[in-house]
Amino acid sequence: MLSGFLRNSKVRIGLGVFAAFLLLALLGPWFVSSVLDTTPRAIDYDALGQPPSADHLLGTTLPGSDVLAQVIVGARGSVFVGITSAVLATVLAALVGVPSGFLGGKLDHALTAFTNLFLTLPSFALTLIIAGYVQGASWWVIALIIAAFEWPGGARTLRSQTMSLRGRDFTVAMRMLGESKTRLVFAEVMPHMTGIVSAMFLRACVAGVFAEAALSFLGIGTTGSVSWGTIISEAQGQSAILNGLWWWFVPPGLCIALLGTATALVNFGIDEISNPRLSAANHKLMKRFRRAAKTAEAGVA
C-alpha cells in the first residue's frame, strides 16, 4: 500500500511541495535572520514600497519591510495554525467517529446527531463571530476555533469506515476470542484507517491555513505576528491596490494556493489508488491497449 502510494506521481509531487513548506515554516525565521540578514519588520528607509529588485527580491511594503522576509516568516504562522488545527480536528474526528461506528446503539445516535449539528452550522460565519468576540487572540486560540468546525466531516467518514471494518472477518474473530473493545479499536481497527486519516489530516491542514488567512484578512487574527493572512490584510489595509503594489499581496496568496494544490494532489492520488478507474493514466493505457489489439486484428485479417 505504502509503496504504491509513493509510486503515484501526484502523491509524490504533492508531498514534496508540502514538505518544502514545512521546512520553510521550521527554518524560515532562522534563514531570514542569518542568510538574508533582516527581520520581517525591519524598515529600509531607502526603499519604501519599491517593486522587486536585487536588494529586495520581492520588493518592499509601503512601510519599507522586505516582502520576501515577511512571506518566509509568515509561513510559520500559517503552517502552525494549519497543523495545530488539523491535529485537533483529526483527534476530535477520531474520538467521535470511531466509537460511534464501532459501538453503535444509543451512543452512535447521540454522536451522529452531534456531528450533523456541527456539519450544518455555517462554520465560517460562526468562526467570524467567535473570533470577533476574542479579539487579538493567540495562534493557539485561532487554531482551536478553526478546529472546532473542521472535525465533523472527518468524523462522518471515520464512522462509516469503522462500521465496515467492524463487520470484517478479522474483527469478528478477535471479538469471539474475547478481545477487549478498547484494544480492538486501537490495535486492530485504527491501523487500517491510516490512509483515510492522513488524507483527512492534510485536508484539514489546508483548511486551517485558509481559515487563518481569511480571519487575519478581516483583521480578526492575531496582532503583531506575521502570517500569510496578515500580510495580505496589511496590504489591503494600507491601500496596496490603490498604489499598485501588487508584489505585496500576490506572493502570500500564491503560497496559500500552492499549498492547497499540493494537498489536493495528494488526495487525488489517494483516490486514484483506491479507485483505479479515476486515473487518467490508466485510461490512456487502456486506449493504447485497445488500439494495439485492433492493429493486431487487422494484421491477422
Binding site: 450544518t120 455555517p122 478581516l218 494556493a257
Partner: protein
C-alpha cells in the same frame, strides 16, 4: 434542532466570552450619543448580554421570546437603527450576488466536469485537471484583490467599489440604475464564478468517470444512440446526484466566500455588514446575521433532500 442550537450558541457565546460585551456596548452608546446611558438603556443592555442579576434560564427564556416576536434589537454602530432595517438593506445585494454566481458556477462546473469525465485521459482532461486543481486552491478573497487591482485599477474596466452608480437615481424601474448594478456587480460575480466552478467540476468528473463504464451506458452506446444523448440522458443524469446534494451542503461555504469577496469590493451586502459589525463589536447585528445564515443553510439542506428523492428513485421510501 440545528436552528435551536444556533439560537443557543448565539445566546451563550457573548455570555461566556472574556471581557464584558455589555460594558463595551454601554461605552459605545455613551460615545455615540455624547451622554451617559439612561438607567433604562443600561437595563436593556444588561438584559440582552447578561451580567444582570437575573439567572441564566430566565435570560434565555426572555431571549427566545424576543426572537419569537422578531425583536432583534437596535444596532450599536448605527444606533438607534433597528437591526432588521440594516439587514433588509443588505440582503438583496447578497441574494443577487450569491444567486447568480452560484447557479452559473454550478452549471459551468457540472457541464465541463461531465465532458471531462466522458473521455478521461483526453487532451482536454489532461490540460484542465491540473489547472482546476490549482484554481480550486486559490483563496477567493485573494483572487478578489488581484482582480480588483488588475481589472479595476490597472485596466479601469470595472468600478472599484459599491454595487451601483451613486450618480444614477436609486430607482428599481430605471434602466440606467439596473445597468449600473450589472456593471458594478460584474467583477465580484466573475471572481466568484471563476473560483466556484472548479469544485463542481471535480466531483462531476470523478462520478462521471465511474458512470461511463457502467453497463447501461455501454448498452446505450451499443444501441447506437447519438453521443450527446448518451452523455446527457444516461450518464450525466445519474452522475449529477452528488453535485445536487453538494450544492445544498456547499451553501454555507459559498456564503463564507461571498462574505469575504463583498468586503474586498465594498459590496453593500450581508458579508460587508457582518464584517463591519464584527469590527465595531455590533453584537445584535452579528447575531441576527448569523441566525439568518443558519436558517438559509437549513432550508437549502431541506430542499436538497427533496430534490435527491426526485432524481434518485432508489432513495424513495416505498412503504
Amino acid at each position: 434542532m440545528t436552528f435551536w442550537a444556533a439560537l443557543t450558541f448565539n445566546f451563550l457565546i457573548p455570555r461566556f466570552m472574556p471581557g464584558d460585551p455589555a460594558a463595551t456596548m454601554l461605552r459605545r452608546i455613551q460615545q455615540l450619543t455624547g451622554q451617559a446611558p439612561t438607567p433604562d438603556q443600561v437595563r436593556s443592555v444588561r438584559l440582552f448580554f447578561g451580567g444582570a442579576r437575573e439567572d441564566l434560564v430566565s435570560q434565555y427564556l426572555r431571549y427566545l421570546n424576543d426572537l419569537a416576536h422578531f425583536r432583534f434589537g437596535l444596532s450599536l454602530s448605527e444606533y438607534p437603527t433597528p437591526v432588521v432595517d440594516l439587514i433588509a438593506q443588505a440582503l438583496p445585494w447578497t441574494l443577487l450576488l450569491v444567486g447568480t454566481t452560484t447557479i452559473l458556477a454550478w452549471i459551468i462546473g457540472t457541464a465541463l466536469g461531465a465532458y471531462m469525465g466522458w473521455k478521461p485521459g483526453s487532451r482536454f482532461d489532461a490540460i484542465f485537471a491540473p489547472t482546476t486543481t490549482f484554481l480550486h486552491a486559490i483563496p477567493a478573497f485573494w483572487l478578489s484583490l488581484v482582480a480588483l487591482w488588475a481589472f479595476a485599477f490597472k485596466l479601469g474596466w470595472f468600478p472599484v467599489s459599491g454595487a451601483y452608480d451613486p450618480d444614477v437615481p436609486y430607482q428599481i424601474n430605471n434602466v440606467w440604475f439596473l445597468l449600473s448594478i450589472l456593471k458594478y456587480g460584474a467583477l465580484p460575480a466573475l471572481t466568484l464564478i471563476f473560483i466556484g466552478f472548479n469544485g463542481w467540476l471535480f466531483t462531476m468528473r470523478n462520478v462521471m468517470v465511474t458512470t461511463v463504464s457502467e453497463d447501461y451506458v455501454l448498452l446505450a452506446k451499443a444501441k447506437g444512440l447519438p453521443t450527446w444523448r448518451v452523455l446527457f440522458k444516461y450518464a450525466a443524469r445519474n452522475a449529477l446526484l452528488p453535485n445536487v446534494t453538494g450544492l445544498a451542503l456547499a451553501i454555507g461555504g459559498i456564503l463564507g466566500g461571498v462574505l469575504l469577496t463583498e468586503v474586498v469590493f465594498t459590496y453593500p451586502g450581508l458579508g460587508h455588514r457582518l464584517y463591519r459589525a464584527t469590527v465595531d463589536h455590533d453584537f445584535p447585528v452579528m447575531q441576527t446575521i448569523f441566525l439568518l445564515i443558519t436558517l438559509t443553510v437549513l432550508i437549502a439542506n431541506l430542499i436538497a433532500d427533496s430534490i435527491y428523492v426526485l432524481l434518485d428513485p432508489r432513495t424513495r421510501d416505498e412503504g
